[in-house]
Symmetry: C2
Subunit: 244 residues, 2 copies
């Protein structure tokens, strides 16, 4: 059977999931395109595939067929593909491992997604998103992670209590800086074994109340005519260097 009506209850729900409020209410979100659907499948979070009528079902999951019109209304893309999946959000786990990345109010979905992709590449164990950070399940974030989101432990928490816990675990806390501190490439090997790196938002950097809790500030040496790098780039360079 093919769903043809925009008034169908399933279709109404899919469309609601474009908004953060409903993603939080239902605990679900939508991914688009074969690559992301496959990554979601490997993580066992698919509720159902949403397929354009007449397309082949590529994975052993529940599915619904819908018309092209519905695909276009549900999709976040200018040119939607013929496959989407309704997914359960990942379980909210705890602080795992000994390499942490803390994002303090990062606003741009593309930046958050790109940072998560780099966090996986450079072996971060847990990413902590502060209050007021862009939603992890925003479609642009999910796309920019290229599916790496599903292979990372990402949790949403207030920063202050997290820093207390990390201090009790004797994890050194580093803050990214544009102007002073230690050149990250001069950090000793022993200081790269466990850490929590805090990165601030696009406009203002790290909040001062958070900054006070940092054991060290790390900067990236660069041409002095450049005030700063893009936040996803700066974070990725710091993670790359810490992972050496």
């Amino acid at each position: 059977m093919v769903i043809t009506s925009l008034d169908n209850e399933k279709v109404k729900k899919y469309r609601k999931l474009k908004k953060r409020k409903y993603r939080e209410e239902y605990g679900e979100f939508i991914v688009e395109g074969m690559h992301l659907v496959l990554e979601a499948f490997k993580s066992g979070i698919i509720v159902e595939l949403i397929m354009e009528e007449n397309s082949a079902i590529p994975l052993p999951c529940p599915y619904v067929y819908v018309t092209r019109e519905i695909i276009e209304k549900v999709s976040d893309l200018d040119t939607p593909t013929d496959i989407m999946a309704l997914c359960k959000k990942l379980p909210d786990r705890d602080l795992i491992g000994n390499k942490f990345l803390i994002l303090d109010e990062v606003q741009d979905p593309g930046n958050l997604g790109t940072i998560l992709r780099s966090a996986k590449a450079f072996d971060i164990d847990t990413v902590i998103l502060s209050e007021n950070t862009v939603d992890l399940y925003n479609p642009k974030v999910v796309r920019a992670t290229q599916g790496m989101l599903f292979h990372l432990n990402v949790i949403s928490r207030k920063i202050a209590p997290i820093l207390e816990i990390l201090k009790n675990k004797e994890i050194p806390i580093y803050g990214s800086s544009v102007d002073y501190g230690i050149d990250v490439c001069e950090l000793e090997k022993k200081d790269r074994e466990k850490y929590a790196l805090i990165v601030g938002n696009e406009g203002n950097g790290i909040r001062s109340t958070t900054l006070e809790k940092c054991d060290k500030r790390l900067y990236i040496k660069m041409n002095e005519r450049v005030e700063s790098l893009n936040v996803a780039v700066a974070t990725s360079i710091l993670l790359y260097e810490l992972d050496k």
Copy 2:
């Protein structure tokens, strides 16, 4: 005097400049917001300021006052500021210096802008944009460079003849790679003094005809479950490492 009509010839031209075709025809483009206008002013490329009526003129330049409605129609932003500037394109110069970055068909404006900001940060002398690369004067590119565009030598050329010239100058040519070659952090000091780094596009990487011309392939060591990094991140890490 304040321009109030959308049919005014100046206003018509400003709006045309949203399209690459007209930016090329007129050799002009528009920047928005005080930060970018100031960077354009320092580079001496401002033709005239486009100001919302009643706002103070901050720089000694020719200016026109327009209504808020016109600002909103000319702007590329969701929430436009009260200052824009019509600018002349930067002069198309030649291959300068001994550190080159070649972008082969990079498509996303945010990625191009971010890469240019990093290129300035890590002391690239000349950036070469291949045929089919996104337009340097696309408003999203200009914004993402944070004005660094005006302090860089960026030229648009076909890649094949550029590589011939660089080979004649004995500049070693490096291609970015996701899977083989030399770990960039193991590159010897002498191999970081002059080079041309080629970076491919988001989906396909470097074209094979270009790859054949590379003296070395450079990769970034990372978690093997991650296929690749965002192209702006990968390029920035390579430039950061080469600049050491």
